[in-house]
């Protein structure tokens, strides 16, 4: 083998993790939450760390709970409570929103199973 062959082989071997991530990693693997309040820039936080987030909106604070790799709206000052009824979100691409309080919660991660969710 020439030196060029060695280099080519090394690059090819180093690229294997990328190939794994693209083709073999489980679809929908969630890693972070993305929270957006109004049209401000979204904030992300890891799903692995349990926490409670207080997010301020025009009606007051919506409380988002992250626990055991899942996330949900725990409480919100809206009347309809549709965000609460959305329950726990855990797959990449899942999302819920408190429209009156203009706050959205989305699960993000590698290779989401779906490009968008209809509800």
């Amino acid at each position: 083998m020439t030196r060029a062959d060695h280099l080519l082989l090394l690059i090819a071997i180093c690229s294997l993790p990328l190939l794994y991530a693209q083709f073999w990693q489980q679809q929908g693997t969630a890693s972070h939450i993305q929270v957006q309040a109004g049209n401000a820039a979204p904030v992300t936080a890891p799903l692995a760390a349990d926490r409670t987030l207080h997010v301020h909106g025009p009606l007051g604070d919506s409380v988002i709970e992250v626990s055991k790799g899942r996330a949900r709206f725990f409480s919100s000052p809206c009347a309809g409570q549709a965000c609460i009824h959305s329950g726990w979100l855990q797959a990449a691409g899942d999302m819920a929103a408190c429209l009156p309080n203009r706050i959205s919660l989305q699960i993000v991660g590698a290779r989401p199973r779906f490009d968008t969710i209809n509800f």
Partner: protein
């Protein structure tokens, strides 16, 4: 060529193709039109994607102001004129959307009825905050139902509008989102965008595809956490769902939601959700409401009349009714396994 060179080059080519396919997606999310807008473009130049996203936000804000059912704008001004029962020149900002809503209302046998704004107000859904613990006066509901406001009461000719029913007040809540999405998709195509999903509060239209595969859309379960099934879209299709879980309040343990049956004046109570796939988002939007009101015994007749043949209806018993076409399109999640009732083909 040595023995290692060819496999290594092949491997690198596969990696390059895989990574290339993964890196061309643009995603944006913002609040507009009273809901959360979620935009995805594929294979679109970043500058064009940003410009398109701004176009969508601007257009939706304009339409929201013009078509809002209770905040002052062109639609509320039109409603005020309708109440006077005198002919008037229609506002071009609302005339086309009203004309199309009237057409679909007639096709639905008035089960999609955009003229029941007064009923919606009575139920308290003309407010960002829903009523808690109170129901509207039953006599007031009965009086409005007896007046039977309908699209046929409004005649539009040469830009002039006349109305013969004082109970008519337009509320485009079951239609405006679909009509707006159709308009915006036309703008996106004019900008040169060929692969996109525009999702407005869970209802969407998708064009093109995601690189070398179709778009994948998850349908959320109407009663449980997670996904009920999924649908792939390639080309151009809208998916709209009307559900009793979207806007509702509870009194003494009974749920009162926002989809009002114009025949009774009360929320339609035989269905949990209806999902419609159609090329036109406006038609899908109106049909989802009409079929929800029609219920499990009559939805096929209304669907045929409205020209929709991809329908899934979940009744209050959890039974899934659907057309053969929808059965071919939807893939239920493992473990969902609902009881199915498949209709006759509708077209």
């Amino acid at each position: 060529m040595t023995l290692v060179r060819l496999p290594a080059i092949l491997l690198l080519a596969i990696v390059a193709a895989a990574c290339g396919n993964n890196g061309k997606s643009y995603h944006d999310q913002f609040f507009a039109f009273g809901t959360l807008i979620d935009v995805t473009f594929y294979d679109t130049e970043p500058n064009l994607a940003e410009q398109a996203s701004e176009t969508i936000a601007g257009e939706l804000q304009t339409l929201h102001r013009q078509w809002h059912a209770w905040q002052p704008g062109q639609l509320t001004a039109t409603n005020a004129l309708l109440e006077q029962l005198q002919p008037f020149r229609g506002d071009p900002a609302v005339l086309p959307v009203i004309r199309e809503a009237n057409r679909l209302a007639r096709l639905s046998g008035d089960l999609f009825n955009p003229t029941i704004g007064k009923l919606v107000t009575l139920w308290g859904f003309h407010d960002n905050a829903l009523p808690i613990g109170t129901l509207p006066d039953s006599q007031a509901i009965a009086a409005l139902v007896a007046q039977a406001p309908a699209a046929a009461d409004v005649v539009i000719r040469d830009g002039m509008v006349s109305n013969s029913n004082p109970a008519v007040q337009y509320d485009l809540g079951a239609f405006a989102k679909g009509y707006a999405i159709d308009r915006i998709m036309e703008r996106l195509r004019a900008l040169g965008i060929e692969n996109a999903i525009l999702n407005a509060g869970g209802d969407l239209r998708a064009i093109g595809r995601h690189g070398n595969r179709p778009w994948r859309v998850g349908i959320r379960h109407p009663r449980q956490e997670g996904i009920l099934g999924s649908i792939e879209i390639e080309g151009d299709a809208s998916i709209f769902t009307s559900g009793d879980y979207e806007r509702f309040f509870e009194v003494d343990g009974t749920r009162y939601h926002h989809i009002i049956d114009p025949r009774s004046g009360y929320p339609a109570d035989t269905v949990i959700s209806v999902t419609v796939i159609h090329g036109s988002a406006a038609t899908a939007d109106a049909a989802a409401t009409a079929l929800f009101v029609a219920g499990p015994d009559h939805w096929t007749r209304v669907a045929r009349s409205m020209g929709v043949d991809l329908v899934m209806l979940v009744d209050t018993g959890g039974v899934v009714h659907m057309t053969p076409g929808m059965q071919q399109r939807i893939r239920f999640e493992p473990g969902a396994a609902p009881e199915l009732r498949i209709s006759e083909p509708l077209s």
